[in-house]
Amino acid sequence: MQEISIPGTIIDEMIAHSERLNPIESCGYLAGKETTVTKHYEMTNVDQAHDHFTFDPKEQFSVVKDARNEGLQLQVVYHSHPESPARLSEEDLRLLQDPNMVYIIVSLAAERPDLKAFRIQDGTVSSVAITRV
Protein backbone atom coordinates (compact mmCIF):
# COMPACT_ATOMS: atom_id res chain seq x y z
CA MET A 1 0.00 0.00 0.00
CA GLN A 2 1.22 3.49 -0.74
CA GLU A 3 1.60 5.98 2.08
CA ILE A 4 1.33 9.69 2.67
CA SER A 5 2.53 11.49 5.78
CA ILE A 6 0.40 14.36 7.04
CA PRO A 7 1.08 16.53 10.10
CA GLY A 8 -1.54 16.03 12.81
CA THR A 9 -2.29 19.76 12.78
CA ILE A 10 -3.28 19.59 9.09
CA ILE A 11 -5.44 16.48 9.65
CA ASP A 12 -7.18 18.35 12.46
CA GLU A 13 -7.60 21.41 10.20
CA MET A 14 -9.24 19.30 7.47
CA ILE A 15 -11.67 17.83 9.97
CA ALA A 16 -12.39 21.24 11.50
CA HIS A 17 -12.98 22.70 8.02
CA SER A 18 -15.39 19.87 7.19
CA GLU A 19 -17.27 20.19 10.47
CA ARG A 20 -17.48 23.98 10.11
CA LEU A 21 -19.09 23.71 6.66
CA ASN A 22 -21.27 20.72 7.45
CA PRO A 23 -23.80 19.95 5.92
CA ILE A 24 -22.12 21.61 2.90
CA GLU A 25 -19.23 19.59 1.46
CA SER A 26 -15.78 21.02 2.25
CA CYS A 27 -12.88 20.74 -0.18
CA GLY A 28 -9.21 21.64 -0.40
CA TYR A 29 -5.66 20.87 -1.48
CA LEU A 30 -2.67 19.60 0.47
CA ALA A 31 0.82 20.30 -0.84
CA GLY A 32 4.31 19.16 0.03
CA LYS A 33 7.31 17.27 -1.23
CA GLU A 34 7.61 13.57 -2.15
CA THR A 35 5.22 11.77 0.22
CA THR A 36 5.11 14.36 3.01
CA VAL A 37 2.46 17.06 3.24
CA THR A 38 3.51 20.44 4.58
CA LYS A 39 0.77 22.88 3.57
CA HIS A 40 -3.03 22.99 3.62
CA TYR A 41 -5.19 25.09 1.31
CA GLU A 42 -8.87 25.38 2.16
CA MET A 43 -10.83 25.85 -1.09
CA THR A 44 -14.24 27.34 -1.72
CA ASN A 45 -16.93 24.86 -2.76
CA VAL A 46 -18.67 26.97 -5.40
CA ASP A 47 -21.57 24.48 -5.48
CA GLN A 48 -22.34 25.09 -1.78
CA ALA A 49 -24.03 21.68 -1.84
CA HIS A 50 -24.30 18.80 0.62
CA ASP A 51 -23.62 16.21 -2.06
CA HIS A 52 -21.21 17.87 -4.50
CA PHE A 53 -18.17 20.10 -4.68
CA THR A 54 -16.45 22.14 -7.38
CA PHE A 55 -13.29 24.18 -6.90
CA ASP A 56 -13.30 27.85 -7.88
CA PRO A 57 -10.92 28.01 -10.91
CA LYS A 58 -9.65 31.45 -9.88
CA GLU A 59 -8.68 30.06 -6.47
CA GLN A 60 -7.18 26.99 -8.13
CA PHE A 61 -4.87 29.12 -10.28
CA SER A 62 -3.85 31.11 -7.22
CA VAL A 63 -3.03 27.97 -5.21
CA VAL A 64 -1.13 26.36 -8.09
CA LYS A 65 1.07 29.45 -8.37
CA ASP A 66 1.59 29.72 -4.60
CA ALA A 67 2.65 26.06 -4.34
CA ARG A 68 4.95 26.46 -7.36
CA ASN A 69 6.56 29.55 -5.85
CA GLU A 70 7.22 27.62 -2.64
CA GLY A 71 8.65 24.64 -4.52
CA LEU A 72 5.78 22.39 -3.39
CA GLN A 73 3.71 19.88 -5.32
CA LEU A 74 -0.05 19.63 -5.00
CA GLN A 75 -0.36 16.09 -3.65
CA VAL A 76 -3.86 15.72 -2.23
CA VAL A 77 -7.38 16.83 -3.08
CA TYR A 78 -9.75 16.30 -0.20
CA HIS A 79 -13.48 16.74 0.22
CA SER A 80 -16.01 15.77 2.83
CA HIS A 81 -18.93 13.39 2.66
CA PRO A 82 -21.32 14.86 5.22
CA GLU A 83 -23.74 11.95 5.11
CA SER A 84 -21.93 9.02 3.53
CA PRO A 85 -18.90 6.83 4.29
CA ALA A 86 -15.25 7.61 3.49
CA ARG A 87 -15.23 5.92 0.11
CA LEU A 88 -15.10 7.26 -3.43
CA SER A 89 -18.57 7.83 -4.82
CA GLU A 90 -19.59 7.04 -8.40
CA GLU A 91 -19.37 10.75 -9.16
CA ASP A 92 -15.87 10.91 -7.63
CA LEU A 93 -14.75 8.01 -9.82
CA ARG A 94 -16.13 9.75 -12.89
CA LEU A 95 -14.62 13.17 -12.17
CA LEU A 96 -11.41 12.56 -10.23
CA GLN A 97 -9.01 11.51 -12.94
CA ASP A 98 -5.50 12.63 -11.99
CA PRO A 99 -3.31 9.53 -11.43
CA ASN A 100 -0.69 11.62 -9.61
CA MET A 101 -3.13 12.92 -7.00
CA VAL A 102 -4.11 11.34 -3.70
CA TYR A 103 -7.81 11.80 -2.94
CA ILE A 104 -8.90 12.00 0.69
CA ILE A 105 -12.50 11.69 1.83
CA VAL A 106 -13.44 13.12 5.22
CA SER A 107 -16.62 11.35 6.27
CA LEU A 108 -18.84 12.93 8.91
CA ALA A 109 -21.50 10.22 8.65
CA ALA A 110 -20.55 8.48 11.89
CA GLU A 111 -20.11 9.87 15.38
CA ARG A 112 -16.35 10.29 14.83
CA PRO A 113 -14.88 11.75 11.61
CA ASP A 114 -13.29 9.13 9.37
CA LEU A 115 -10.54 9.86 6.82
CA LYS A 116 -9.50 7.55 4.01
CA ALA A 117 -7.10 8.16 1.14
CA PHE A 118 -7.12 6.72 -2.38
CA ARG A 119 -5.32 6.88 -5.67
CA ILE A 120 -7.06 6.32 -9.01
CA GLN A 121 -4.90 5.00 -11.85
CA ASP A 122 -6.40 3.83 -15.14
CA GLY A 123 -9.77 3.46 -13.44
CA THR A 124 -8.36 1.28 -10.66
CA VAL A 125 -8.73 2.49 -7.08
CA SER A 126 -6.04 1.69 -4.52
CA SER A 127 -5.90 2.65 -0.85
CA VAL A 128 -3.23 5.01 0.44
CA ALA A 129 -2.22 4.77 4.10
CA ILE A 130 -2.31 8.06 6.00
CA THR A 131 0.51 8.42 8.53
CA ARG A 132 -0.08 11.12 11.12
CA VAL A 133 3.23 12.83 11.88
Partner: protein, 70 residues
Amino acid sequence: MKIKMNGEEKNLSQATLSVSELLVAEDVKMPEMVSVELNGEILDRDAFDSTTVKEGDAVEFLYFMGGGSE
Protein backbone atom coordinates in the same frame (compact mmCIF):
# COMPACT_ATOMS: atom_id res chain seq x y z
CA MET B 1 7.54 32.23 -30.42
CA LYS B 2 8.42 32.14 -26.76
CA ILE B 3 5.69 32.01 -24.12
CA LYS B 4 5.50 31.11 -20.45
CA MET B 5 3.32 28.06 -19.87
CA ASN B 6 2.43 26.88 -16.37
CA GLY B 7 5.38 28.88 -15.08
CA GLU B 8 7.97 27.55 -17.52
CA GLU B 9 9.48 29.13 -20.62
CA LYS B 10 8.35 27.36 -23.75
CA ASN B 11 9.45 27.75 -27.36
CA LEU B 12 6.76 27.05 -29.95
CA SER B 13 7.37 26.64 -33.67
CA GLN B 14 4.20 28.60 -34.47
CA ALA B 15 4.33 32.41 -34.62
CA THR B 16 0.77 32.59 -33.32
CA LEU B 17 -2.01 30.15 -32.50
CA SER B 18 -5.35 29.98 -30.76
CA VAL B 19 -5.82 28.68 -27.23
CA SER B 20 -7.64 25.65 -28.64
CA GLU B 21 -4.73 24.96 -30.99
CA LEU B 22 -2.28 25.32 -28.11
CA LEU B 23 -4.16 22.72 -26.04
CA VAL B 24 -4.04 20.32 -29.01
CA ALA B 25 -0.35 21.07 -29.64
CA GLU B 26 0.42 20.32 -25.99
CA ASP B 27 -1.57 17.07 -26.16
CA VAL B 28 -3.87 18.16 -23.34
CA LYS B 29 -6.32 15.36 -22.62
CA MET B 30 -9.99 16.21 -22.13
CA PRO B 31 -9.66 19.92 -23.08
CA GLU B 32 -13.34 20.35 -22.24
CA MET B 33 -12.32 19.83 -18.59
CA VAL B 34 -9.61 22.49 -18.65
CA SER B 35 -9.64 26.06 -17.35
CA VAL B 36 -7.25 28.47 -19.05
CA GLU B 37 -5.76 31.69 -17.73
CA LEU B 38 -4.09 34.04 -20.22
CA ASN B 39 -1.96 36.84 -18.77
CA GLY B 40 -3.80 36.60 -15.46
CA GLU B 41 -7.34 36.55 -16.89
CA ILE B 42 -9.47 33.39 -16.90
CA LEU B 43 -10.91 32.76 -20.36
CA ASP B 44 -14.45 31.69 -21.12
CA ARG B 45 -14.42 28.29 -22.78
CA ASP B 46 -16.32 29.84 -25.70
CA ALA B 47 -13.32 32.08 -26.33
CA PHE B 48 -10.71 29.30 -26.69
CA ASP B 49 -11.07 29.23 -30.50
CA SER B 50 -11.03 32.99 -31.00
CA THR B 51 -8.33 33.95 -28.49
CA THR B 52 -4.80 34.17 -29.88
CA VAL B 53 -1.66 33.34 -27.94
CA LYS B 54 1.20 35.66 -28.82
CA GLU B 55 4.91 36.09 -28.14
CA GLY B 56 5.57 36.78 -24.46
CA ASP B 57 2.15 35.66 -23.21
CA ALA B 58 1.75 33.78 -19.93
CA VAL B 59 -0.62 30.83 -20.20
CA GLU B 60 -1.77 28.63 -17.34
CA PHE B 61 -4.12 25.71 -17.58
CA LEU B 62 -5.51 23.26 -15.05
CA TYR B 63 -8.23 20.68 -14.81
CA PHE B 64 -11.67 21.31 -13.41
CA MET B 65 -11.85 19.74 -9.97
CA GLY B 66 -15.10 18.45 -8.61
CA GLY B 67 -16.82 15.42 -7.17
CA GLY B 68 -19.55 14.43 -4.82
CA SER B 69 -20.91 11.95 -2.36
CA GLU B 70 -23.67 10.38 -4.48
